[in-house]
Amino acid sequence: MGFEYHQPSTTAEALELVARFPDAEIIAGGTDLMVRLNKTRRVPPALISLRRVQELTHIENGSGLRIGAAVPLRDVATHPAVAAGFPALVDAIRVFGSPQIRNMATLAGNLCNASPGADCAPPLLIYDALVELRSAAGVRELTIEDFILGPGATALEAGEIVTAIRVPPPPPAARSIYLRKGRVQMDLAITGVAARLEMDGATCGAVRIAAGAVAPVPRRLPRTESVVAGAAAGAETWARARAEAQHEISPISDVRASEQYRRHLTGVLVERSLARLASTNGGGT
């Protein structure tokens, strides 16, 4: 009934193991994987842990960030460069599970789990993050949109592992925020909205808005963005963005909320996030 547990210490070793055990599961924090294995009582031939792969356990801060696949969320949220440049990501991690979960779970794992409501995905979408994948054949990078293909489905190919999440440096004047609602404090998202706004005086400049739990995959809301970009900052614009967002998304009804309420709430969060970003005190940065 058991399985082999491997703890490679280099990426090369990890890739060898992945090639040797094509049906193996890759484990970092295990906060999603172990729940899934227990629930399905599936016994994989091997578990390959990334926790001891040195190259994957730190955050490099150069031109943007490179966050190793085995870095726990707590370390992401407390990293000074993340707090300074990517506050929406900090917002997302703050509401992510419990402290115990945040001590174990990883950014890469959150994306690989490919939940429509993955809390870290909307912030990474507005930051143009890239997923770094490695295999024996080499490295490739995918956008979040190209990586998460559907509920539980990713573009990971056989023999490939996610080694890092790369986030380019943010525009200097951009502000960003992630707002999320659950049923209780510790919950999965009913809906979550990330927004990034650059102001050009009293006019909205470049804007990015992304939402989770509103479609089969976390996604940007380009139509809502185009309502805001170039418009006068103010309640009227935020209200139009709210209305547009409610139409643009395609949520489902489930035990957490109805489709109708998800549309309503996403609109509210879009409106609130923009209002906060535009206010002098700002949200986020």
Partner: protein, 797 residues
């Protein structure tokens, strides 16, 4: 009772350290030599005929010791109406029906074997609403009653109704009337410790079941009946209760898994353990019933209540548990919360193909109070009267005998209302728009506080045994399940006997050693145990003082020999103290009329040893006393809904201030206050724990909790999607105040507190939401979505 030494003290609970430190043994921690693990094959249909069960693949799995189906074992029938079978035969009536079971050498193999059992079904149409189940021509979920007689409808034959006064006259006398439909969903007890048991036969055929139960003695009776079904007669059944991590009513019935572990133990000759994990706890144990209530109340032009009319329809699910008798307990609030003449109450309980339901904390009272206290505020608004004023105007008074015949010997409801209003600063916060979206609300409660007689005995026995060292060993049949019973009981025994609380040792609950007890439910544990302890303690003291006439002088001489002189020796004749002259306080035998000099005090252990090892022709004496307390209550006539079912009644009021986000519909509780008349407070920590716990559970019931199902299948079997509040959600102060009426029947004046906390929380919150934003939610839970919809509907009006 001004000289109580321990009652009311704020002391840590005696079982706390072992529980926190991981030393307490829960069912999860217990194994037996040679023990096997049982697992159950559950139905995959809500309503279907079983065509064929193929267990051959499971039988062949290495490590499997037994695979049984309803066809392999004698029929073991159980349940409140004996409509349930341990292993179903012929037909399944709910998704979780038990079809087959496995015993194996480890739990993983047992579960793997269960997956190898193939069942062929012929699906039948299911009935998932009470309306469908009651419709003309609806299929019958049970074609016959347990005796084989055909039945004609899906009604559960547990009639409960009440009619007092003249309803029509009450309506005619009404100036204002409010009516509405109110609903409550199925909710989960959500105990921290999941369900489980170990069944084990000895070689003489006697059965021991280690069970997470609230009713060890009724379980003993049930399991004895199961043995009879197996053809085993005249054998002993012993029920031992391990440490229990919360039960909240889920241990009020015996369960199929317990009978299945007995069947597997009988089949294999080995101890068999069945333990539910969290998924199984949600999917295969019974939640609290959902119910629909129609309530109509009226008042005259001054706000005096004129009548109350309540129709309840309860979705029972596929089998009947004790929980089907919720309406019996609903009667208490229905007839007796506030003074109301002219009451009509009727309950209809309906079989459906939903999961069958069972008891949970409050037992019908949170449901009916949800309707009454919400509806009362609607009535107050119509009458243009402040809701607090209306409650005060119709307030129950001590000495009242209510329309149900409840005898309210002590009643502090008025003080609870006034205390809550003061804590909320009602006059300045209610119906005032200080800040948009803010409001205050309250709701009142009455609950049984001296047992609740729904069985032919509501009694409890106790045995107090003194050892050679001055300790009191207590054997009591009730169950400490986290509620703090042992805290209250150790203080009461200490007080009743005259020892220090730390010298009171409460034994594990075991039917082999404890006298009979009907079970720990209906907020009765401390009330019953305390009254029994009071009687047994008085008997112990009487016997000790009688013997002291002979033993005491010799012990005082020993004191004098050890101490030299004794002060006051000349004035006090210690040789001729009679039994009435003795006292026992904190483990010291004393003379009432003498000073507290060291030479006059005899340590209890020394006295007991002197009595035990009597010299010079003595016979040797041990001190053990038992008492059985049967409260002076009536088993009500349920068809008339009349009878004083409890020996005391607990009252309380909860107040809450909320802030409602009108855009998202979110309700944030800013603060709560609970003012409770539970009689005298026995153990302050235990009492506070009961209230805090009840309120938090009430907040979950009000705002979050619901067992969702689709065609009988539970959609949220786990904490991922069944949300209960965590500490992060209780981010507001809860202020507790006590109105310590001294109930004449209560032990040391106390009344039961187990359920009060959860009863009025939901209507208090709903009333505060109405005060804040003017929308009335009548269906629990009050989700943000419902608030948004109600606000949108209000704008549309």
């Amino acid at each position: 009772m001004t000289d109580l030494l321990h009652i009311g003290r704020d002391v840590p609970r005696p079982d706390g350290a072992d529980k926190v430190g991981g030393k307490a043994l829960y069912i999860h921690d217990i194994t037996r030599p040679g023990m096997l693990y049982g697992a159950i094959k559950f139905s995959e249909h809500a309503h279907a005929r079983i065509v064929r069960i193929d267990t051959s693949r499971a039988q062949r799995l290495p490590g499997v010791r037994a695979v049984i189906t309803g066809d392999d074992v004698p029929e073991v029938r159980f349940g409140f109406m004996r409509d349930n079978l341990a292993l179903k035969k012929g037909k399944v009536r709910q998704f979780r029906d038990e079809i087959a079971a496995v015993a194996a050498i480890d739990p993983d193999i047992a579960k793997e074997a269960v997956d190898l059992i193939d069942v062929e079904y012929e699906p039948l149409p299911g009935l998932f609403t009470t309306a469908d189940a009651l419709a003309d021509g609806a299929a019958l979920i049970h074609e016959t009653d347990p005796t084989g007689r055909p039945v004609t409808s899906n009604l559960v034959p547990a009639a409960c109704s009440h009619r007092s006064g003249d309803l029509e006259a009450g309506k005619r006398a009404s100036r204002f009337v409010a009516e509405g439909h109110y609903t409550v969903p199925r909710i989960q007890q959500a105990s921290l410790g999941t369900a489980g048991c170990i069944a084990e036969f000895d070689l003489n055929g006697n059965l021991t079941v280690t069970a997470k139960t609230q009713i060890p003695f009724l379980a003993q009776r049930d399991f004895t009946n199961a043995l009879r079904a197996l053809g085993i007669k005249d054998k002993n059944v012993r029920v031992v209760v391990p440490a229990v991590g919360g039960a909240f009513g889920s241990g009020l019935d015996t369960h199929a898994y317990e009978y299945i572990s007995i069947l597997l133990a009988w089949h294999t000759g080995k101890p068999v353990k069945i333990l539910y994990d969290r998924y199984e706890e949600f999917a295969y144990l019974s939640p609290r019933q959902s119910a629909e209530l129609f309530i109509r109340q009226g008042c005259d032009e001054n706000g005096k209540l004129t009548f109350r009319e309540i129709e309840v329809t309860q979705d029972n699910g596929a089998y009947v548990s004790w929980g089907a008798t919720y309406p019996n307990v609903m009667l208490v609030a229905a007839t007796s919360l506030h003074r109301v003449p002219n009451v009509y109450f009727n309950a209809t309980i309906v079989y459906t193909n939903n999961t069958y339901c069972q008891a949970m904390r409050g037992y019908g009272n949170p449901e009916v109070t949800w309707g009454i206290e919400t509806n009362l505020e609607e009535l107050a608004e119509k009458a243009g009267i402040d809701a607090l004023e209306m409650r005060l105007l119709n307030c129950n008074q001590p000495g009242d005998v209510t329309p149900m015949g409840l005898n309210l010997q002590s009643c502090g409801l008025r003080e609870c209302l006034e205390g809550t209003a003061e804590a909320l600063d009602w006059d300045r916060t209610r119906s005032v728009s200080r800040r948009p979206g803010r409001g205050v609300g309250m709701a009142a409660l009455i609950n049984v506080g001296g047992g609740g007689k729904i069985y032919r005995s509501d009694g409890s026995g106790i045995i107090l045994k003194l050892d050679d060292f001055g300790n009191v060993n207590v054997s009591y049949g009730g169950v400490e399940m986290g509620q703090g019973l042992h805290s209250a009981l150790s203080l009461m025994v200490a007080e009743a006997v005259g020892v220090l609380p730390e010298r009171v040792i409460i034994n594990q609950t075991d039917t082999a050693t404890a006298p009979w007890d009907v079970g720990t439910h209906a907020s009765r544990g401390a009330f019953m145990a305390g009254n029994a302890a009071r009687i047994a303690g008085a008997r112990l003291r009487e016997r000790i003082f009688a013997l002291a006439e002979q033993v005491y002088p010799g012990e005082v001489e020993r004191n004098l020999a050890a101490l030299g002189e004794g002060e006051g020796l000349d004035e006090f004749d210690f040789r001729s103290v009679t039994r009435d002259g003795f006292d026992l306080r904190n483990g010291w035998l004393l003379c009432k009329d003498a000073g507290d000099e060291p030479w006059l005090r005899v340590e209890l252990g020394r006295f007991l040893r002197a009595a035990h090892f009597a010299k010079e022709g003595g016979t040797g004496t041990m001190f053990t006393e038992e008492a059985f307390y049967e409260p002076p209550t009536d088993l009500p006539d349920w068809s008339a809904g009349y009878g004083n079912m409890s020996a005391a009644y607990t009252f309380g009021v909860q107040g809450v201030e909320v802030e409602v986000d009108e855009d998202t519909g979110e309700v944030t509780i800013l603060r709560m206050v609970a003012v409770t008349d539970g009689g005298r407070v026995l153990s302050r920590q235990a009492a506070e724990g009961q209230l805090y716990g009840g309120i938090v559970q009430g907040v979950g019931y009000a705002l979050y909790e619901e067992v969702h199902s689709s065609e009988g299948r539970i959609l949220n079997p786990g904490f991922t999607d069944y949300k209960i509040p965590t500490a992060a959600d209780i981010a507001f102060p809860i202020e507790l105040q006590w109105v310590e009426t001294n109930d004449p029947e209560g032990p040391f004046g106390a009344k039961g507190l187990g359920e009060a906390g959860i009863v009025p929380t939901a209507p208090a919150i709903a009333n505060a939401i109405y005060d804040a934003v003017g929308v009335r939610i009548r269906d629990l839970p009050i989700t943000p979505e419902k608030v948004v919809q109600a606000l949108a509907a209000k704008v549309g009006e």
